[in-house]
């Protein structure tokens, strides 16, 4: 599973369905690769001992579907039903779809749930790991910090958060809306092992996540919104816009091998 493969699926499905939310899916391509390609231990989506992954930034569901497909947990037909009438693959993930642990879309709700899952494993004394992927703008939500406080206090060391630190939010740059520059210090202050990492460096993501500690862990993953398609990088309009035919061909060309 590679970031490029994820990105090609994101572009292909977004174009086919005429739906947006491209930039935020492209920025997490390596992160979902790290999770589904390496970190998550699960023989299948129904494995009762599987690790859990909660995509708290639900608007990037397309990247999740891409990884579930590459993992072999979604068929090509299912993937190609993205945003079709009556499909379980909507813009935001639905737990009715096998492989999706939690329905998300409203920001700030994934980490409290992931903390509950991590607490459950602590109580059961099993070695399940719980991963949650948040956006940096999602850290505007007070509930993120409620959960961060709890997980830090209770030393939920089986919980790993990855923050997609792309610096963009729905109406502009995070630096001009609510400053997110000191995320590492903030998470550390809440009792987490906080480390900054290149969010497009698959090996760095995997090795940082694999480090064992006594606290919950957060990877502040520096990413580029729209990464991989030059005309989308750091362009907020790609949070919203679907692709024209020209855009589509140009994007696929950049991602290698054309359409």
């Amino acid at each position: 599973m590679t970031g490029k493969e994820i990105r090609r699926i994101v572009i292909e499905q977004s174009y086919r369905s005429h739906h947006g939310h491209i930039g935020c899916s492209l920025s997490i391509a390596e992160i979902v690769c790290a999770i589904y390609g390496t970190l998550l231990r699960a023989s299948g989506p129904k494995d009762s001992l599987r690790d859990y992954f909660v995509l708290s930034k639900g608007h990037a569901a397309l990247a999740l579907y891409a990884s579930l497909f590459l993992k072999g947990w979604l068929t090509r037909n299912q993937l190609n039903s993205y945003c079709d009438e009556n499909s379980l693959l909507g813009v935001h993930p639905e737990h009715e779809l096998s492989g999706v642990e939690w329905s998300t879309g409203s920001l700030g709700q994934g980490l409290p749930v992931a903390s509950g899952l991590a607490l459950a494993s602590h109580l059961k004394n099993n070695d399940r790991k719980v991963y949650a992927l948040l956006s940096d703008a999602e850290c505007n939500e007070g509930s993120v910090w409620e959960a961060a406080m709890f997980a830090g206090h209770h030393k939920l060391s089986n919980l790993t958060v990855i923050v997609d630190w792309n610096g963009q939010q729905a109406l502009g740059k995070t630096s001009t809306i609510l400053n997110q520059l000191n995320l590492v210090e903030r998470w550390a202050a809440f009792g987490w092992d906080a480390v900054e990492v290149d969010g497009h460096d698959l090996a760095a993501l995997c090795s940082s996540a694999a480090k064992i500690g006594t606290k919950p862990k957060v990877l502040l993953a520096k990413t580029i919104f729209g990464k991989g398609v030059s005309f989308m990088e750091n362009q907020i309009k790609w949070h919203y816009l679907p692709l024209s035919e020209l855009d589509y061909h140009a994007a696929m060309e950049e991602l290698g091998g054309g359409v």
């Binding site: 709700q109 409290p112 749930v113 899952l117 459950a120 109580l123 409620e146 709890f150």
Partner: protein, 308 residues
């Protein structure tokens, strides 16, 4: 009903280790017996109700039966979206225990009143809403519902002593209990208002007016059959609730009357005006809202007069 809750939960927790109790830093002199017996299954999550509901959702997804405890508005209104997107949408057995039904927290002010909790939850399919009439019924309700797969909201009163005569602790999910048979006038009472409804019925009896009384604890699922049967034999129905008249029992009765085409008149008695900031105890707040027994008797007689 706190004692009934904690004692019943301890009994259940002894037989099922899936039970966990979370509190949003409330429950002084109430939750300690559980915390003492099950220190590893008790979490004070701090003053963070959104996270409390999120934690409970995660715990329930992994097989636990979490009870979350706080004052009604803090564990219903504050984390409402977490309840909706969490246990309701994912169909998980989270138990929300709200203390302070209606004006229980009298002098504490609107922030502490549970007068819109039912209305906020009743429009959601998939969550049960139970407002017990007394502590005995509360205990039965806990025992009947602790292991059902859906989420439940228990709307508890601080009253640990009053007993509703004739109820004898009975509880049926989706049912209501007729305490006085249908007559020209009938009261549908929500939860703890049932004991006041009996007082009102007694006072009316002294004036040679028979008044039926139904106690409603199971708001969702709604006791449609029981209420239909009672209301179709009653001339004028008065709903009596420590809740805004919109969204609660009055609204439920109106829906049933309209949908079943019942031939009865409905007068919704409950909280109508936004509290005005003047402090008062529970009793005086009931008087202000016109839902104390004496105001209700007056109102019922007036309504009957104006109808003729």
């Amino acid at each position: 009903m706190r004692k009934a809750f904690v004692q019943t939960l301890i009994r259940l927790a002894r037989q099922d280790d899936r039970i966990i109790l979370l509190t949003g830093d409330l429950g002084f002199m109430a939750l300690e017996p559980f915390a003492d017996e099950f220190p590893k299954r008790f979490f004070n999550v701090g003053v963070a109700e959104q996270n409390m509901l999120g934690l409970a959702s995660g715990l329930a997804k992994d097989g636990y039966i979490p009870y979350v405890y706080s004052i009604a508005p803090f564990c219903v209104l504050r984390p409402l979206e977490f309840i909706r997107n969490g246990p309701i949408y994912h169909r998980l057995p989270v138990r929300i225990v709200g203390i302070g039904a209606g004006f229980d927290y009298g002098n504490n002010g609107l922030t502490h009143y549970g007068i819109d909790d039912i209305g906020s939850l009743r429009c959601q399919p998939g969550i049960h809403i139970i407002s017990p009439c007394d502590y005995q019924q509360a205990e039965t309700a806990f025992l009947r519902t602790w292991d059902i797969p859906e989420p439940v909201y228990y709307r508890l009163s601080k009253d640990d002593t009053t007993i509703v005569q004739g109820l004898d602790g009975r509880f049926v999910l989706g049912g209501a209990h007729v305490l006085r048979p249908p007559a020209q006038v009938g009261i549908l009472a929500l939860g703890t208002m049932s004991s006041d409804a009996l007082k009102i019925s007694d006072l009316l009896e002294q004036q040679q007016l028979s008044c039926g009384v139904v106690a409603v604890a199971s708001v969702s699922p709604p006791p449609v059959e029981d209420l239909t049967e009672f209301m179709c034999k009653t001339g004028t129905i008065f709903t009596l609730e420590n809740h805004y008249i919109t969204g609660g029992l009055g609204s439920l009765a109106a829906e049933i009357i309209a949908e079943k085409k019942l031939d009865c008149r409905l007068v919704r008695c409950g909280v109508e005006a936004l509290p005005n900031g003047r402090t008062g105890n529970t009793e005086s707040l009931h008087i202000k809202s016109g839902i104390d027994p004496h105001s209700m008797v007056k109102r019922i007689l007036q309504e009957l007069k104006s109808a003729t």
